[in-house]
Structures are given as structure tokens and as C-alpha cells.
């Protein structure tokens, strides 16, 4: 059986949904960041697969993926720095406890 683009897209959709679930449901900021990373990976997979099937001679999607990988690495670094700064002050990374701004 030939594996078509829809198989990859389905896998990407599953990964994306898992990540989205984690990003919304998790309470620990680090777990949320990991879930976000999972979503980013799903998007990368989607792009690489589409690049392979839609434009096999051009690398547009793969180049896009390289850019998104770099940007998400930088973002995660920034996010962890924020989490670390909060942890140093409050000794907690639970998102549910961050309620100083309710109102």
C-alpha cells in the first residue's frame, strides 16, 4: 500500500491534538512548554510531508521547517528563562497559583 500525504497529515493532527490538550490541561509551566514543543513538532512534520508530496522538486516546506525549528528553540529558551525567574521568586511553577493579576 502506498503511504500518501494524508497518513502524515493524520499523524501530525494526532500529535497536534495531544500537544494542544497538554498545553490547555497541564498545570506545570514546564509541562505546558513541552506540550507546545510537541505541537511545533507536529507542524514541522506536516510541513515536511507536504513539501515532499506537493512540491517534490522544491524544498520550500523543508526550508520553512528549518526556520520554525530555530524560532521555536529560541522561544522555548525565552519561556524557560521566564519560568526560572518566576521559580526563583515564588518557588513554584504551577500556573494555577499565578493569580496575582486576577481582577
Amino acid at each position: 500500500m502506498q503511504v500518501g500525504p494524508s497518513a502524515f497529515m493524520a499523524l501530525a493532527a494526532v500529535l497536534f491534538s495531544l500537544g494542544l490538550y497538554g498545553a490547555v490541561a497541564r498545570k506545570s509551566a514546564v509541562m505546558v512548554l513541552m506540550s507546545l514543543e510537541l505541537m511545533a513538532v507536529a507542524v514541522s512534520l506536516n510541513m515536511v510531508a507536504l513539501s515532499r508530496f506537493v512540491t517534490p522538486t522544491e524544498m520550500t516546506g523543508q526550508v520553512f521547517t528549518i526556520f520554525t525549528m530555530v524560532v521555536s528553540a529560541a522561544e522555548i529558551g525565552l519561556g524557560l528563562a521566564l519560568v526560572l525567574a518566576i521559580y526563583r521568586q515564588t518557588r513554584s511553577i504551577e500556573l494555577t497559583r499565578m493569580d496575582t493579576l486576577k481582577g
Binding site: 494524508s6 497529515m9 493524520a10 493532527a13 494526532v14 497536534f16 491534538s17 495531544l18 490538550y21 524544498m59 526550508v63 528549518i66 525549528m69 530555530v70 528553540a73 529560541a74 529558551g77 524557560l80 528563562a81 526560572l84
Partner: protein, 118 residues
């Protein structure tokens, strides 16, 4: 296009069902009989010493962050190396600009004392 609805609907459904199945299987299959030995932290089979939440030195974290940032930037060098021979001098200049910007970033980290072990 009803066909497209089916495709998207399937994606969404499979996504939801997969999560539900994996979470419920692990709940169904696992035995919930915690004992003290089971609850211990796994440290290569040796009995754990001290508390598991050891605070790592912050210095490691800063270094790791710097490493990851510069490590991931090298990813751009690979596609560049492939097209370099076809594109000529202008691409070489562009890459020098890119590396120069990275070096400025490193210089900033140095200036701010991120490279000093504290």
C-alpha cells in the same frame, strides 16, 4: 466538498480518540498498588541518596541555553552549504553577515557576564 469534511472530521476524531485510548488504557492496565519500594526514585537500581529535587547550579542552565541557541543556528549552514556553489559570492557575504550577528549576540552574553561561572 463533503469529502473534505470527512477528511478533516477523521483527523479530529482520530486525534481525540487516540488521546482517550492511551490515557484510559494506562489507567485500566496498570495495577494501583503503591508500596514504599515502588515509590522510590529510580537511580540505576541503587538506593537513592538525598532528596530527588536537587537544585542544579544556575550556571549550567545559562550555558545550556547559550549552547542550544548557537547550536540550532548552525542548522542554517547546511542548506547554505548546498546552494553555495551555485549562488556565488553574494551568498558568502550573506552568511558572513549572519555569523557576525551571531557573534554580536555572543559578545553581548560575554559583556553581561553570562559566560562567567558564578
Amino acid at each position: 466538498m463533503p469529502h473534505d469534511y470527512v477528511v478533516i472530521g477523521t483527523f479530529v476524531l482520530v486525534g481525540i480518540i487516540f488521546v482517550m485510548i492511551t490515557i484510559s488504557t494506562s489507567n485500566i492496565l496498570s495495577h494501583q498498588k503503591p508500596s514504599e519500594a515502588k515509590g522510590l526514585i529510580y537511580e540505576c537500581g541503587v538506593e537513592p541518596i538525598g532528596a530527588p529535587w536537587v537544585q542544579f547550579h544556575v550556571g549550567y542552565y545559562v550555558y545550556a541555553l547559550l549552547f542550544v541557541v548557537f547550536d540550532i543556528e548552525t542548522v542554517f549552514l547546511y542548506p547554505w552549504a548546498i546552494v553555495f556553489s551555485r549562488m556565488g559570492m553574494i551568498v558568502l557575504v550573506e552568511m558572513f553577515i549572519f555569523v557576525a550577528v551571531l557573534l554580536l549576540g555572543l559578545a553581548y552574553a560575554w559583556k553581561e557576564g553570562a559566560l562567567r561561572w558564578r
